[in-house]
């Protein structure tokens, strides 16, 4: 039912893109590239949310995870003078913060919302307290054009001429979809998120699986942070993640906790941003930008209100597991 609307929307957008492409290739490609770029950290962050929630753990600390990873990645790269090392430090930091959430929310059975809130508040405080000006990245990450594929009109320059994290953000949702729905790990993860007592009875370690899923998901938040600081903006500023981690939660829900759905939702919201800036640049119409910025949130609330009966979060999400 719902999927049909999603397909219809995707087809309409696809046709519209082709029409625009026929009218103005340069503008269409560059707006789509902008949209993808805007979507990359949202995709990675939404995957974090999906892995955690599918395992039964709410993660509202993604924004903080990303901010700390970006901080560590940037200063790691700047101080060691090595981009790869910095990237690894950033991604690793995401995982460490993920482990922190896992200890709090899973091992200690803290309230999950509070655990995430602590991460967010701590991230803002620590990164702005320890921020130091005057550090510069030792270079920039390469743009890799994939042979043959990048020569395809429209699709090539948008999808196949990007940095490595961008490719990762495009591939990971597909991989995660397969993992979640076609593998034993996925079956167990979903069981732990939906009916942990049944999973427990059938011999799955609820606590263990939740702990590791939340920890490893932190890697993706780390990638989002490293992407922002190293591949995309090439700098770190206090609070420069600008709420992307929260937008990702909206995207996770909008995508119905499905990696492919979230990929589509992230691109859709990227597109609204890209279109808004292009309409302003071409002086066609200046939509008050506040409305563009609130769009993902408004749509998510409307969606939740309409389809709440049919689109459901994992049943056990938010509840620490207690053995009976």
């Amino acid at each position: 039912m719902r999927a049909r609307y999603a397909y219809a929307l995707a087809i309409i957008i696809g046709v519209a893109i082709l029409v625009f492409y026929a009218m103005d290739q340069v503008r269409t490609v560059s707006v789509l590239s902008f949209s993808l770029r805007y979507a990359v950290p949202l995709i990675l962050d939404a995957m974090v949310g999906i892995i955690c929630e599918r395992s039964g753990v709410i993660n509202i600390g993604i924004e903080g995870q990303m901010l700390m990873s970006a901080f560590a990645g940037f200063f790691g790269a700047a101080l060691t003078g090595n981009l790869i090392l910095g990237t690894l430090i950033g991604v690793g930091t995401g995982m460490i913060v993920g482990a922190f959430l896992a200890v709090g929310a899973v091992t200690w059975k803290m309230d999950q919302i509070i655990a995430g809130t602590v991460i967010n508040i701590l991230a803002v405080g620590l990164t702005s307290f320890f921020y130091a000006q005057g550090n510069v990245l030792p270079g920039s990450t390469p743009i890799v054009a994939i042979p043959v594929l990048s020569d395809i009109p429209l699709v090539g320059p948008v999808l196949f001429e990007n940095g490595l994290f961008t490719y990762a953000a495009l591939i990971i949702p597909l991989v995660l979809w397969v993992l979640l729905f076609k593998t034993r790990w996925g079956l167990r993860t979903r069981a732990v998120g939906e009916k942990p007592s049944a999973a427990d009875t059938s011999g799955v370690s609820v606590q263990g699986l939740r702990f590791w899923n939340v920890t490893v998901a932190g890697l993706l938040a780390g990638m989002a942070g490293a992407y922002l600081a190293i591949e995309a903006a090439g700098t770190f500023e206090r609070g420069f993640t600008a709420g992307r981690g929260f937008t990702a939660l909206a995207i996770m829900i909008f995508g119905a906790w499905n990696p492919i759905g979230a990929l589509g939702a992230a691109f859709f919201f990227g597109l609204t941003q890209g279109l808004a800036s292009q309409l302003q640049a071409d002086e066609v119409v200046a939509i008050p930008q506040q409305f563009i910025n609130m769009l993902p949130y408004v749509l998510t609330i409307v969606l939740l209100a309409i389809v709440s009966g049919r689109i459901k979060p994992p049943a056990a999400v938010g509840k620490p597991y207690e053995k009976d």
Binding site: D111, V118, L122, F129, A250, I253, P288, L304, P320
Partner: protein, 371 residues
């Protein structure tokens, strides 16, 4: 609707159980926050020490400047006022089993609502001031009710809706203050100044808004523990199925609890506008709602305890400028200390240290996203 196991809700959110209201059992609820704050100050002290400043001196500056001068005291009271109210907003939600992360958005909406009511009308003070205050509260309540209704009737988690509503509110008030409600003839994004008849007076160095916030905190201390409605909040918070069994309208109570919570945050915004800033300007209200979460948890969802918790945070935020002026420590150290406080208060680290021989039950104040 999730069934909340009362044994796991051990933060002292509920009315004290008569069977364990002996003096000994009351100690933990006071000890934990105090120890957490002290430990957070110790960790903050290490950070300060790493910057080459004596922590003792830094803390002396932080507090003496805020509390030692009349202007400092006025600012502490002004700053604590919205914190008490957002803390109460989160507290009322927690009591009813709702986690209202949206106090920030509700405060913004309340602040701009009060500004509009304050400048748009020319009324005698006796009518205008209460009207502007109430209108701000109403805006906050209405904004929070979106989340309340969705939670009650569509089973949508209030956590996710209030996060979304925060983002929407930030954009919305910015739009309102830059377009339809903008003050003419000047470039800033802000509303016109409120009329004198809508301004909250300051008595000596005591802002009337602060007194109002204190009165509201005391009122809720009574309301949540001594009235039927307060009992209903607690019951649906602790055990919604039992509440339903007892004939309490769970849905209606959820909507009411969110509305009350939003009204409190909106009141915080209204007092900011009518008592401190005199108009609405988006940048002037940043971050207040998030401190509310820290305060509510520090106060263990006790309405009266939000007063000292808010005063502590208000004092630190007031003293931060003097701290930088006299020691060079950046004001962000306050945020670090607060985050560590929140961590210690909510994570079982400190609790385990203190009560090693007790089986520490963890707190779950919220239900899942949509269940």
């Amino acid at each position: 609707m999730s069934t909340m196991d009362p044994s796991r809700t051990d933060l002292g959110f509920s009315d004290p159980d008569p069977r364990r209201s002996g003096p000994l059992d009351r100690i933990p609820s006071i000890v934990l926050p105090i120890v957490s704050v002290l430990l957070a100050f110790a960790v903050g002290g290490i950070l300060i020490w790493l910057q080459g400043v004596s922590p003792l001196r830094a803390y002396a500056v932080l507090f003496s400047n805020a509390l030692g001068t009349p202007e400092g005291l006025l600012r502490v009271m002004e700053k604590s006022t919205p914190l008490i109210l957002t803390g109460l907003a989160v507290t009322v939600g927690l009591r009813a089993g709702l986690f209202n992360i949206g106090a920030q958005g509700q405060l913004l909406v309340g602040a701009i609502g009060a500004a509009w009511a304050g400048y748009h009308f020319q009324l005698p003070l006796i009518v205008h001031l209460p009207f502007a205050v109430l209108f701000g509260m109403l805006c906050g309540a209405a904004w929070a009710s979106i989340a309340g209704v969705l939670r009650a009737y569509r089973s949508v988690s209030e956590v996710i809706t209030t996060i979304m509503l925060n983002a929407i509110a930030i954009a919305l008030v910015d739009y309102l203050a830059s377009e339809p409600l903008k003050e003419e003839g000047q470039p800033l994004t802000r509303t016109p100044a409120i009329a004198d008849s809508a301004a909250l007076p300051v008595f000596g160095i005591v802002p009337s808004g602060f007194l109002l916030a204190l009165a509201v905190a005391v009122f809720f201390g009574w309301y949540l523990t001594r009235t039927t409605q307060g009992f209903r909040f607690n019951t649906i918070g602790l055990n919604p199925s039992a509440a339903r069994y007892a004939g309490i309208s769970v849905k209606g109570t959820i909507v009411l609890a969110m509305a009350v919570s939003g009204a409190l945050a909106g009141l915080g915004g209204a007092i900011e506008t009518l008592g401190v800033t005199g108009r609405f300007e988006p940048a002037f209200n940043a971050g207040l709602g998030f401190d509310g979460i820290t305060i509510a948890l520090l106060a263990r969802a006790n309405p009266l305890a939000t007063i000292p918790a808010a005063l502590l945070i208000g004092t630190m935020r007031t003293g931060a400028a003097a701290l930088q002026f006299q020691t060079g420590i950046e004001p962000e150290v306050v945020d670090v200390i607060l985050a560590i406080t929140l961590l210690f208060v909510s994570a079982p680290i400190v609790a385990r240290l203190l009560f090693r021989n007790r089986n520490i039950k963890q707190t779950t104040v919220t239900s899942g996203w949509g269940s």
